[in-house]
């Protein structure tokens, strides 16, 4: 007979649960509430897009404002440029120079570089070398003044002739007509 009381494979069977708790291996359990996290991420992204779009739109508005300002400044510049070109035009410069007493110099003198020889005869201007270069405005102004003076003269002479005619007893044909023409010639040559 053996010492074993009962063979191993004949151990008494008790009722055991078929499932049992698996021992935990490793660290603690991560317990993330997924739904709130995802919602938060979503909100953050939407906010980011909002900020991004708003920034772009603000910059675009600023761009429009600056473009408008540039356009307005270009209009002012165009107006000033037009003024400058008008003032720089030959007509304007020539008539202003004429008014200041300058006259064109038709006596050319050239300085030949590098040795400095002078070609031509430098001559001071007397003012009447180029009679045809009087600016048109000056001619017109002179013509207007001359016409006015002439009209005043004629009116004066007419008045005198009338006074003389009514004063003399025998009005002669010669007298009133001869004297005014002589006076007119004298006056014209004096004025001229």
């Amino acid at each position: 007979m053996s010492a074993l009381a009962t063979p191993l494979d004949e151990s008494p069977r008790t009722e055991r649960p078929l499932l049992r708790l698996v021992p935990q291996v490793g660290g603690r359990r991560i317990n993330i509430p997924w739904v709130p996290v995802v919602i938060l991420v979503l909100i953050a992204c939407i906010a980011g897009v909002l900020v991004f779009t708003t920034t772009i739109q603000t910059q675009q508005a600023e761009l429009n404002r600056l473009q408008q300002e540039a356009a307005q400044l270009s209009y002012q510049e165009a107006a000033l440029q037009a003024q400058v070109q008008n003032l720089r035009s030959s007509r304007n410069l020539a008539s202003r120079a004429y008014e200041m007493g300058m006259r064109p110099n038709p006596h050319p003198a050239f300085i030949q570089m590098p040795d400095g020889t002078v070609a031509g005869d430098p001559t001071p201007v007397t003012g009447d070398e180029l009679g045809g270069m009087v600016p048109a405005e000056v001619i017109e102004a002179n013509a207007v003044a001359a016409a006015r003076t002439k009209a005043e003269e004629e009116a004066r002479l007419k008045a005198e002739a009338k006074a003389r005619a009514s004063a003399s007893t025998v009005p002669t044909h010669q007298g009133p007509s001869a004297t005014p023409s002589q006076e007119a010639t004298a006056a014209a040559s004096g004025q001229g």
Binding site: T53, I56, Q57, Q60, A61, N64, Q72, S74, Y75, Q76, A78, A79, A82, Q85, N86, R88, S89, S90, R91, A94, P104, P106, H107, P108, A109, F110, Q112, A119, G120, D121, E129, L130, G131, G132, M133, V134, P135, A136, I139
Partner: protein, 614 residues
């Protein structure tokens, strides 16, 4: 265990009501679903299109008309930004607000708006506030439609418009808009107006270079498409830009300051000799470039309405006249080149010579004179010229004149040459008396430009260069535009050209001519020829007044500049040497140093003989 209860009548009614309610709701929802399907699914495209169209705006970006500058870069014609001022009377009447939601205060303001806007408009745009008020005070028209577009002013300078808008905005008035309406601006006013021409209200060329080069000068408008709502432009909305392409830029051969001198001298000459009109041409003889082309009377290109209709064209190009004795230069050039004579050929000149039904005489009565051909030209003897011209046959003479450019258009880039502007040259079958006449400049007609180019060909060594006024032209993209030109052609030999210049110099410098020092230019040798032609009067006789002209080239040893002045119908004196020579001489005195021709210190006196001992 659920107890089966019999349905009570009330419960039954309730059930029916609920069923009906649900049926109605289902029906309504199906309608809504159908509509949603229609809007979003079936008509999606057209609805989206309509919505976008309400937002989309298209703005035309006007292209600048091409700028025109002179040979040194001085701007002769350019575009200035300007606007049309447009009023929206309906908006003005509500001061820009929605009429259904205006407060009393806003209505008061809106009532004052038309008067205030009219007053501001008059202050900036000129005119009477009452006129503006009349235009903007009615928000509805006769048919009951809203008036939303009234044109108040055109071509308002951009800077002025901007100031007006800032005042309107500062005071809070709405309803004034603008559309681009650029102004073509000529900064030099009347300078070269006949050459440049002018544009009409739509900025299309109507005369001169503006007309002949209109296709190139006009640019291509661009457009900008953007989206905006009543709150303004939508910043990130649809935006498409087509850049405008500006017109081509032109550089002319004209020298603005020389042009000013020519115009001033011409005006003086016409005024002092009480003439009807005049033209002056300054040309570079070796290239045909026109340095100045003056007409008097002229006009201001900025305001062509103030000019007289006859003054708006370019007489130097369109008006043909009988050139008179200046033509003798061309006759002599033909004769010398053909070998018929040279400057020293002896000519026995009677007091008159029969020609056709009558006689050709000289401008002064004389007995038989013994002149060299040089003397015939210098003293301007018609009889002598006829005697010499009869030694060449008509077709040869005619060919020379045609080769000098007479009787055809010069091809200059200005309008108006076709027709009268080509002049008239009798053909080779002309009768003998016609040949006699054309040899001294009557019986044919030329324009000032033609004659100037012909004399330039005679004096520059014999090469005819077609006159040109456009130096270069470039498109906005930087490509050069080629201007079609005639090739230069040799008409007479260099020797013949030199002899003719020598003969021309005699009329100014020869001691045998009576007026001497007063005609010469100090420091330079000048050669020239006067012309005094009779004009045909009303009944076909030569009694219609005179054309006095003078052509000069300098320096005589190597001509570079040509000046030609033509005075039409002078009444205070009529000889070319009287009415045109002073202006020609003064222009030449200013032109020579201007273009760098150095003066010579010692000019030996003119020694070639004008007459001989028989």
């Amino acid at each position: 265990m659920a107890r089966k209860r019999s349905r009570r009548p009330v419960g039954r009614i309730a059930e029916v009501r609920v069923t009906i309610f649900f049926l109605v709701m289902a029906f309504l929802f199906s309608l809504l679903a159908g509509r949603a399907l229609l809007v979003q699914g079936i008509d999606a495209g057209s609805n989206a299109e309509k919505a976008a169209a309400m937002l989309r705006h298209k703005e035309i970006l006007k292209a600048d008309r091409g700028v025109i500058v002179d040979r040194n870069g001085t701007v002769l014609a350019e575009t200035q930004p300007a606007f049309q001022v447009i009023a929206d009377p309906y908006s003005i009447s509500t001061n820009g607000r929605d009429p259904s939601s205006m407060t009393e205060e806003q209505k008061d303001t809106a009532a004052r708006a038309p008067r205030a806007i009219a007053e501001i408009a008059a202050r900036y745009l000129g005119g009477d506030p009452a006129d503006y008020l009349n235009k903007i005070k009615d928000p509805m028209d006769a048919d009951g439609n809203r008036r939303q577009y009234v044109l108040l002013a055109r071509k308002v300078g951009a800077a002025i418009y901007q100031q007006m808008v800032s005042e309107l905005t500062a005071q809070g008035w709405f309803g004034i808009y603008s559309a681009p309406d650029p102004i073509r601006f000529y900064p030099n006013g009347t300078l070269a107006s006949n050459v440049l021409g002018f544009v009409n209200h739509e900025n299309e060329g109507a005369a001169g270079l503006e007309y002949s080069q209109n296709a190139w000068l006009t640019g291509t408008d661009g457009s900008q498409i953007y989206q905006s709502s009543s709150y303004g432009q939508i910043p990130l909305g649809e935006s498409a830009l087509v850049e405008p392409v500006d017109g081509a830029a032109y550089q002319l051969t004209i020298d603005a300051e020389m042009q000013y001198m020519a115009e001033t001298e011409l005006a003086s000459a016409v005024a002092s000799h009480k003439a009807r009109s005049g033209t002056a041409v300054v040309m570079a003889v070796n290239s045909g470039e026109v340095l100045a082309l003056a007409n008097y009377p002229s006009f201001d290109s900025n305001d062509p309405a103030t000019g007289k209709e006859g003054d708006l064209g370019n007489r130097a190009v369109t008006d043909a006249y009988e050139p008179g004795s200046v033509q003798k230069v061309l006759t002599m050039a033909a004769l010398i080149d053909a070998g018929v004579c040279n400057a020293d050929t002896k000519v026995e000149v009677p007091s008159r010579i029969s020609s056709g039904d009558g006689y050709v005489t000289d401008a002064w009565s004389h007995g038989t004179l013994y002149m060299t051909a040089r003397g015939v030209l210098a003293r301007s003897s018609n009889v002598g010229t006829v005697l010499l011209a009869r030694q060449i046959d008509k077709s040869t003479l005619r060919n020379y004149l045609s080769s000098f450019g007479l009787g055809t258009s010069t091809g200059i880039e200005l309008p108006g040459e076709a027709g009268a502007g080509m002049g008239t040259l009798p053909d080779a079958s002309m009768p003998d008396y016609a040949r006699d006449q054309i040899s001294f400049g009557q019986g044919l007609s030329v324009t000032a430009l033609q004659e100037a180019a012909a004399v330039a060909a005679v004096t520059n060594g014999g090469t005819y260069h077609a006159p040109k006024i456009i130096a270069s032209a470039r498109t906005a993209e930087g490509e050069d535009i080629t201007v079609p030109r005639q090739e230069p052609r040799q008409v007479i030999s260099k020797e013949a050209s030199g002899q003719v210049v020598n003969m021309m110099e005699a009329s100014i410098a020869s001691p045998e001519m009576t007026t001497l020092d007063a005609n010469k230019i100090p420091g330079y040798r000048m050669a020239g020829k006067s012309g005094t032609a009779q004009k045909i009067g009303r009944y076909g006789n030569y009694d219609g007044g005179y054309t006095g002209s003078f052509v000069a080239v300098a320096p005589a040893e190597d001509p570079k500049i040509l000046v030609y002045v033509v005075i039409d119908e002078p009444t205070d004196g009529y000889y070319g040497s009287q009415v045109a020579f002073p202006a020609t001489r003064e222009l030449m005195m200013q032109a020579l140093p201007r273009y760098g021709v150095a003066p010579t210190a010692n000019i030996s006196p003119y020694a070639d003989p004008l007459s001989y001992e028989p």
